[in-house]
Chain length 321, copies 2
């Protein structure tokens, strides 16, 4: 099976630690099923795996967390990337969960094994490439907006940051769902593009006083924006935190939470139901991840290098078959 | 109308700043209704008003936030103490809300004026004295458990502290609703009494490692217990903060929230619907506020003094008629 595997540590990100090669497929766990992949995408977690620590010596783990393809009956499916134990209301509530490419072989391959519960129907109106870009940042954004914050059409949401994968997904999904979307950006050009290209209703500089308080704030930035997110939310509003690229430890005034009846939700990824609804929302509502470029699996290294260098605008997609 | 009014500042709490006297009733706002009070109770906010700052010069504000009595048609009602503007999903979401005794004349009186929407039916199985003790700490506890944390029978809840008004309400209401209730207490005797008298299932010392993580933690203590509350909650669990007697500013690791999908809810008081359901839950499920002593309105000063001194075990209740 042709796949991109991690074979050695590669702290400098020169792609010397991965191989693209045809090796025997890994054994399939009892009761699991196999998806013949059409497209897979490149995510931050893959880049961290290419570069960073966490290499498992002696393994040849297949990379890739996001993918879409055909199940054994020929149905078009999106692969839900989290595998959890039984008895959890939500797979994310299992402290011992595993994810594709993280403890399990992933989607940068011709085939991937997953439990049958991880197969999500791909709507016909969604391309393979778009379907392969929904399982991480877009799934995270979907749950933040419609799960954790439970936003309703007509409400106003503040999105901190206009450039990252989660931020652009939040803007696109929020606009398509009838929310009023306000964004902040350090870079005025990025803020302007969030308005003109993604449909955000207004862009502000970081920390700006907003025209009015918002119903909910979405913050995947962390310490740098947390205080602004909190004071921008109305009494009875919601703040969702899903990342901390600027650092995670912050001061919190509990009185500000209880006097104003604020809910602060931590959020990570989403459930299989979230992914199913996200795919349908994209197919129906028109929101789509932006795709930077596509690369064949057997010649993927230039695409991965492009993502490592941060040169892309949108998603890097691999064609697996 | 006989009432207990605040007439002067009284920082030492010697009861020199309040009068118990018969004066003309305050004018009734258009569209409001009048309740002839049977019982009213003494709450922390009343004691703070007797003692603390916030005296409004030139006013003779009637004290008392909690009460129950007869409406103009002779129906038995509990008075919901918050008055908010129109258009809010929840009265607590109005940043300009007013409360009885705080901007409005209160319940330590023969009569109180309120909007008709503030009349909550008193279940027949609930005494006047018990009904007059539900509108603050018990209402706060009800919303924390069943609103914000959305606890279900069979789930486990950690209650930080075993002695305060909110803590004892949390324990009593949780036990009556089929929750497994664990408490912490600095004082082992109080912890033991929470088990033997209120029905808690186990008591622990502050900061103790629990036998397992809980579904939700209820914290009206603040900084001193916040870190323990957070690490005691399972992945996907809930932490409700409703007070900060030990200080409100704390460190928060956002990553701990989003990696573990934790929700942190600020909570204060509850809605009219919460109060209605709380009263029915008490009438049906058997939980009752503990009453320390009752005092006639015209001779209430010894009862108020008892509460100011912190000598009571349970609620101080005034008989208004």
């Amino acid at each position: 099976m042709l796949a991109i595997r991690r074979t050695a540590p590669d702290p400098d990100g020169r792609l010397t630690g991965i191989e693209i090669a045809d090796r025997p497929a890994p054994p399939r766990p009892d009761g699991w099923t196999t998806v013949r992949l059409k497209s897979a995408s490149v995510n931050h977690s893959d880049l961290a795996a290419v570069r960073g620590p966490g290499f498992e010596p002696g393994t040849h783990r297949v990379l890739g967390i996001d993918g879409a393809g055909l199940d054994e009956d020929g149905n078009e499916v999106i692969v839900y990337p989290i595998v959890s134990g039984p008895g959890y209301a939500d797979p994310l509530y299992d402290p011992d969960l595993r994810a594709l490419s993280q403890g399990l072989d992933g989607t940068w391959a011709e085939e991937v094994h997953v439990p049958r519960a991880n197969l999500i129907p791909k709507p016909a109106g969604l391309s393979w490439d778009h379907a392969a870009c929904l399982g991480t940042a877009w799934l995270t954004a979907y749950r933040m907006l419609f799960g954790r914050a439970d936003l309703k059409p007509g409400e106003t949401v503040l999105v901190q940051g206009a450039g990252g994968g989660v931020s652009t997904a939040l803007i696109s999904l929020g606009v398509a769902a009838g929310l009023r979307v306000w964004v902040t950006s350090r870079d005025p050009d990025r803020g302007e593009r969030a308005v003109t290209e993604l449909g955000a209703h207004a862009a502000f500089s970081p920390g700006a006083r907003l025209p009015e308080q918002v119903d909910a704030a979405m913050d995947a930035t962390g310490r740098a924006t947390f205080a602004h997110s909190l004071r921008s939310v109305r009494t009875g509003g919601r703040l969702v935190t899903a990342g901390a690229v600027t650092g995670g430890t912050t001061d919190l005034d509990l009185a500000d939470l209880f006097i104003r009846s604020i809910s602060l939700h931590g959020s990570a990824m989403g459930s299989p139901t979230d992914l199913r609804n996200l795919a349908r929302h994209c197919a129906t509502g028109g929101a789509r991840p932006k795709i930077d470029s596509t690369w064949p699996l057997h010649d993927a290294k230039p695409g991965i290098a492009r993502a490592l260098a941060g040169d892309q605008f949108g998603k890097i997609v691999l064609h697996c078959a």
